[in-house]
């Protein structure tokens, strides 16, 4: 369990810049929680504060009930992947992990295990200098898994990964959560989070915009529009009209229907012998909903749902 309460970070002296503004949230075990926001929203800063690398200006955060630096074996509590590379390029992958393992008395066999898990066994002896972005990410994840921690905090883990790597991360995160671990993963891509996460914490300009489930976000963001192409657009629109239904039309013969589903539209058309050339549910607006939400963060001072939900 990760808890942040009133977490605030300001930089600079005379005209301070607020990177994280009074952030309060909880991340529960057993699910993947997506930490979502545009670039510069304060995700990385928040994660660094969780890990004790940055000190909050005010507020506090705990992992497993304690501040990160109060754990006697932090690597067994929290595994972290930071956005900025935190690996010496002159050291081999194996020795990088072993040096970290030594601080906790973690044996070599575990180092080999995580190398195997992340598919790095063959390059373990090579200096990190020659690693691709994706291999570097894998090594960062190997380091996060080293202490078999109950909590994972990963900052943009899919950055630089090929599609196979993205899928691997997705499955890894889901598997870790299924084992009862707490998983917090940041991203600036709604589409990626929709596939990976169960829960969403959305931030913009350092503020909490939403603390909700993916399911609810999808529902609330009104993605249920359906595109209909028909020669009898006017007649169909009349038939579909109702208090909860909105119908718009950009081009003649094309309707965008909100408030009802494709099945109902199809049956209505069939019942009245109206030919349909196209009947397409529009799912692409999830990303749009996210962008609308974060577009001008200042307007959204109230989260979609209670902050401490």
């Amino acid at each position: 369990m990760i808890r942040a309460h009133g977490l605030t970070k300001r930089y600079g002296g005379k005209r301070p810049k607020t990177a994280v503004d009074d952030l309060t949230f909880e991340v529960r075990p057993g699910t993947v929680t997506g930490f979502l926001g545009p670039n510069g929203a304060g995700k990385s800063t928040t994660m660094r504060m969780l890990l004790g690398l940055d000190a909050p200006t005010s507020g506090r955060c705990t992992i497993g009930g304690r501040a990160y630096d109060r754990h006697s074996a932090p690597l067994t509590e929290v595994g972290a992947l930071l956005e900025a590379r935190s690996i010496h390029p002159g050291r081999s992958a194996f020795h990088h992990l072993l040096a970290l393992a030594h601080t906790h008395g973690i044996p070599r066999t575990r180092v080999r295990q995580v190398l195997e898990t992340t598919g790095l066994t063959e390059v373990a002896g090579r200096r990190v200098k020659g690693f691709s972005l994706g291999m570097g990410q894998r090594l960062g994840i190997a380091a996060a898994l080293l202490g078999d921690p109950g909590t994972l905090i990963l900052d943009e883990p899919v950055n630089g990964l090929d599609p196979e790597g993205v899928l691997w991360i997705r499955n890894l995160l889901k598997a870790q959560a299924a084992e009862g671990r707490t998983v917090l993963v940041s991203s600036h891509l709604m589409s990626e989070m929709a596939l990976t996460a169960d829960h969403l914490i959305i931030v913009g300009r350092g503020r909490l915009l939403a603390d909700t489930t993916v399911e609810r976000f999808v529902r609330d963001s009104g993605t249920g529009s359906v595109k209909v192409v028909t020669p009898a657009a006017g007649r169909l629109a009349e038939l579909l009209a109702g208090p909860a239904v909105t119908i718009t039309s950009d081009t003649p013969g094309t309707l965008v229907v909100q408030g009802t589903d494709a099945e109902h539209i199809g049956r209505t058309a069939a019942a009245h012998a109206i030919p349909l050339f196209e009947l397409t549910p529009q799912a692409a607006s999830l990303e749009q909903a996210f962008m609308d939400l974060t577009h001008d963060s200042v307007e959204y001072v109230t989260p979609l749902e209670g902050a401490a939900a």
Partner: protein
């Protein structure tokens, strides 16, 4: 998920830092270069000696190369700390050891041990090898002669503590070029500039500066215009302690 005897202890942090030091190619190159330079210069001094430099202290004479190795050790000290900031490794190090200070102490301890041992061994070997050519001259001495071992060890201690200051500067400034600049500027050049100032007692003050204090340590006979070896060692140790304390303060307080 919770540990099976896994926890951070000072001994484990030491082991980690020891491992980190030896798994970088730069460490081997820098240390090897330092030792070879001292030995090579020592051999050159021994083979070319014709009695002209008879007023120079014998240990100072055979260890002229330490002026070069000093730079190598100082650079390595800076890389040990500032190098982690340059590469971002520091974030991994401090995530593993979030109490932070043990990392700095372990780095200082590992580096001091390695540097002192290596300097001492190199000094002794260089002295013995140079004596092959110096026997029969007025610079013929053995290890057991009065003050020889003390001077060889003193030289090693001087280089080690100077490099420890460099390591502290690296941790304090968090930048490799910055720390190298600060080391060269404040430790090597600043005292030379200050001596030109017409101030009473400035010479006495400068004798306690790191490089000047270090120069009192590596000779059999007391060097002119320097403090006693005991005072020199104390002064140097205090400088190193002060820089490390400042570095510790910044490490404790500031975001990484």
């Amino acid at each position: 998920m919770t540990g099976t005897g896994y926890r951070v202890t000072p001994a484990r942090v030491l082991r980690s830092e020891w491992h980190k030091l030896w798994t970088l190619r730069t460490t081997w190159i820098t240390l090897l270069t330092a030792c070879v330079l001292v030995l090579a210069v020592g051999i050159a001094m021994g083979t070319t000696y014709d009695g002209d430099d008879s007023d120079v202290d014998t240990v100072v004479f055979v260890l002229f190369g330490t002026q070069l190795s000093q730079i190598c050790f100082a650079v390595l000290g800076i890389l040990v700390t500032a190098g982690e900031y340059a590469t971002g490794m520091i974030r991994a190090s401090l995530t593993a050891v979030p109490r932070r200070l043990p990392v700095l102490w372990a780095k200082a301890a590992v580096f001091t041990t390695v540097a002192f041992t290596l300097c001492l061994v190199t000094n002794v070997i260089t002295f013995l090898v140079a004596q092959i050519w110096l026997s029969g001259s007025d610079k013929e001495l053995t290890l057991t002669d009065d003050g020889v071992l003390g001077a060889l060890a003193g030289s090693a201690a001087g280089i080690t503590l100077m490099s420890l200051i460099a390591l502290g500067l690296g941790a304090l400034l968090r930048s490799v070029p910055g720390a190298i600049g600060a080391f060269v500027g404040s430790i090597l050049i600043l005292p030379e500039v200050l001596t030109t100032l017409p101030l009473d007692g400035i010479d006495t003050v400068i004798r306690h500066f790191p490089a000047q204090a270090a120069s009192s340590l590596g000779s059999i006979e007391r060097v002119e215009d320097t403090v006693t070896p005991g005072t020199g060692l104390l002064a140097l140790a205090l400088w190193a302690a002060a820089v490390l304390a400042a570095a510790a303060l910044r490490l404790r307080r500031q975001d990484v």
